[in-house]
């Protein structure tokens, strides 16, 4: 008796819940024919996605696994790695520069991510206005996101120049004294946070897609019930955007933990003044390629990965309290 027969008998004779039966579970000849088709489709499917499978295996799975292995060694990139157990991890927890770099990165993430979400949502709402020239607005609001980070960094160096920069010229108009943001360890972080907001266009597009997905009938019903724009935003728009918010929050945190390019360009690779822009990735980069300590740098990378993972899981766990997946039902 075949397994299918057993299932059929159970379903017919015992009153147990019947499994859903598919054509694949029919007569043996039919099963073979369908199985061949299935296999062929599977082969074709795998062939089509093989560039991604190979890409993930070669550029993500292998390096991550290799890096985890290296994190338990002393390795310069040249000689054979020497096993040192968890020494690199112990060193990381006592390294004052790791503490400084972590503090800088958290400072950045805690401000840049929420601020970025607010800016992106505001842009998305502006892009969603029902006016004829909305296409122009969308282009204008998105355009800064197309500027590469290194180019934006050079623009910001000039923009924030303590004497002739636009930023200080505006402050001067209101009688304020000059601010040298890039010459101050906290100021340089704030400058990089401000700069990050020019890349909010990507998140704004995702918010815009979410906004377009909210059924108009819900707003019409709300208007009939007498809800104004603010009430509509907080009772309809925002709750129904929370799945998109969750996505942008997780990608934002992940990106914030890896902030690098802007600080590298602005500080000429030093992370100064006073290590104020020495972000975690920058210290990791220096450790790996400046000091030839790839084992230690791998341990730092693993710690960063675990931190990112833990934060993502924490956000997912918290998301059960604030994310509303009822957009379709709505």
């Amino acid at each position: 008796m075949s397994a299918t027969d057993v299932d059929g008998a159970r379903a017919a004779g015992t009153g147990a819940p019947a499994r859903s039966t598919t054509p694949l579970a029919g007569a043996s000849g039919e099963k073979r024919r369908m199985s061949l088709t299935h296999k062929r489709n599977l082969r074709l499917g795998l062939l089509f996605i093989s560039p991604w499978i190979i890409g993930v295996a070669v550029f993500i799975v292998y390096p991550v696994t290799y890096s985890i292995g290296l994190s338990f060694t002393r390795y310069s990139g040249m000689a054979t790695p020497t096993w040192v157990g968890v020494q690199n991890y112990i060193t990381a927890f006592s390294d004052p520069l790791v503490a400084k770099a972590t503090g800088n990165t958290l400072f950045y993430a805690i401000i840049a991510v929420p601020l970025g979400l607010v800016v992106a949502l505001t842009l998305a709402i502006a892009m969603n206005q029902n006016v004829r020239e909305v296409a122009w607005y969308r282009t204008i609001f998105y355009a800064p996101s197309l500027i590469p980070a290194f180019a934006m960094s050079f623009i910001f160096i000039v923009f924030l120049n303590p004497q002739f920069g636009v930023f200080n010229q505006v402050i001067g108009l209101f009688g304020g004294s000059n601010v040298n943001l890039l010459g101050d360890p906290t100021g340089v972080k704030i400058a990089i946070i401000l700069m990050a907001q020019f890349g909010a266009g990507n998140a704004a597009l995702i918010f815009l897609a979410g906004l377009r997905n909210v059924p108009k009938t819900v707003y019409e019903a709300a208007r009939v019930d007498g809800a104004g724009p603010i009430r509509q935003f907080f009772s309809i728009t925002f709750p129904l955007l929370t799945p998109v918010l969750l996505f942008n929050l997780i990608t934002g945190v992940s990106g914030a933990l890896q902030v690098f390019t802007e600080a590298f360009v602005i500080t000429n690779g030093s992370g100064d003044p006073d290590g104020g822009a020495l972000f975690y990735m920058m210290y990791l980069y220096k450790t790996a390629f400046g000091f030839a300590e790839l084992g230690y740098a791998s341990a730092l990378a693993v710690l960063l990965f675990l931190t990112g993972l833990a934060l993502a899981l924490l956000i997912f766990w918290l998301s059960r309290r604030f994310v509303n997946y009822d957009v379709d039902a709505a």
Binding site: P96, I157, P162, G183, D274, F289, G290, A292
Partner: protein, 459 residues
Amino acid sequence: MIDRRRFLGGAGLAAAATLGATSCARSRATGDNVIRYWGMGAADTDKDQAVLDAFKATDAGKDVQVIIDQVPSSGAADNSQIITAVRGGTAPDLWWMDRFNAVQNASIGLLEPIDGLIEEYEDVSVEEFKSQWIQFAVDELTYDGQTYGLPTATDARGLLYNENILKDVGIDLDMFDPTQHVITWDELREVARQVTHEDSRGNYDRFGFVPWVDQGTPYTWAFGLGAEVYDNETSKITLDSPEWKAVFELYADWAEEFPYSKVDAFYATYQPPNAPPTQNALFSERLAITPTGPWQIQGNEKYAPDLPLKWTWLPVQKDGDPTYTWSGGQSLVIPKGANMTKTLWEFLKFFAGYPGQSIYQPMLGNLPTNLQAIVEKKYNPGAELFREMLPNSTSRPPLPVGSAVWDTTDRAKSSVALGSKTPQEAIEENQALIAPKMALFPDFKMPETYGKPSPIPEA
């Protein structure tokens, strides 16, 4: 319309062709007469070519093919390009490298020692052969008793000043004349006070001097204050010595009068980071004095030929104290896995020796390391004061943790100047960061001759 089978077949072929092409693209050129060379950098291609042309005109070089790539060394920053190339089997046979990185790179096995080549192809001993170059430059290429390349260019540090500005505020120029006087720190502070001027909003619009800009690195003043990084006797890092504390006290002291943030605003305005060479506070006559070196001569001559920019010694503590400086520079090294042929050796010897140095040194603005080239003055005449400095100059200590020491001390400089750390806290942190790294090289010894005078024969 193309069917799916043809599309997949075509895509597969295209992918295979791309993979094949990329895997062949950077494969090593073969043959004993082919040399792959990573040169001085895009801006100095003409110097590389001039040496190559001269080499090809010799008997040793007539059948040689040299493939020049401009992949410059980025100082203490990043060795990823060369490590990747060596590991990938596409490394050059010869590499123009910042000499400061030599010991670190040798310690990780990135470079080939050249002692074997000298023994095989030269009629003199290794020591005698190396004696053609200035001692401190050879020391900087020595690790564990072996030599990892030949030195090419070198330099030194001094003060560059603009006579116009000093005259405008009534400074006695004899104070800066290197033949008459070595300026003291107190005198320099007074000059800086007189020169520095603020606009109506309190911003500096003319500035004298501070010790933390340009070549005002902790290393520079450490040489003047007797601070040493490493004790060869005890094999210990000594970054927490009283002398190092004095180095950082110097920054703290100057920053009290010239706040870091205001100075930074001045430089951000008149000489911002990554600015083109023309945008220089000295050239715009906003800055009076800066610590720098002979590499600046080329720019001075090119962009400010009419300005009276002159050189003098670095400041000393008190009248009569000995002058001091330090020298960096470049070298030619052989990365691991290179094709170690007689042809390569002949090219290296030509390039780093008298024939090569006499071609490119006058064009570079720096100083030669080859003693004959120094004696015969194969350098820019504007670098004469630096030439005088050479016998008593030395390199930064050749340590396998050199990049980390540089990075750490430089960060401490801005911390102290900003006031976020006291000099004592800075030196304690520096020691705590570097000592464990150096502990991985137990009983490491720098060359015996390190820090001793490097005599230059008389003409």
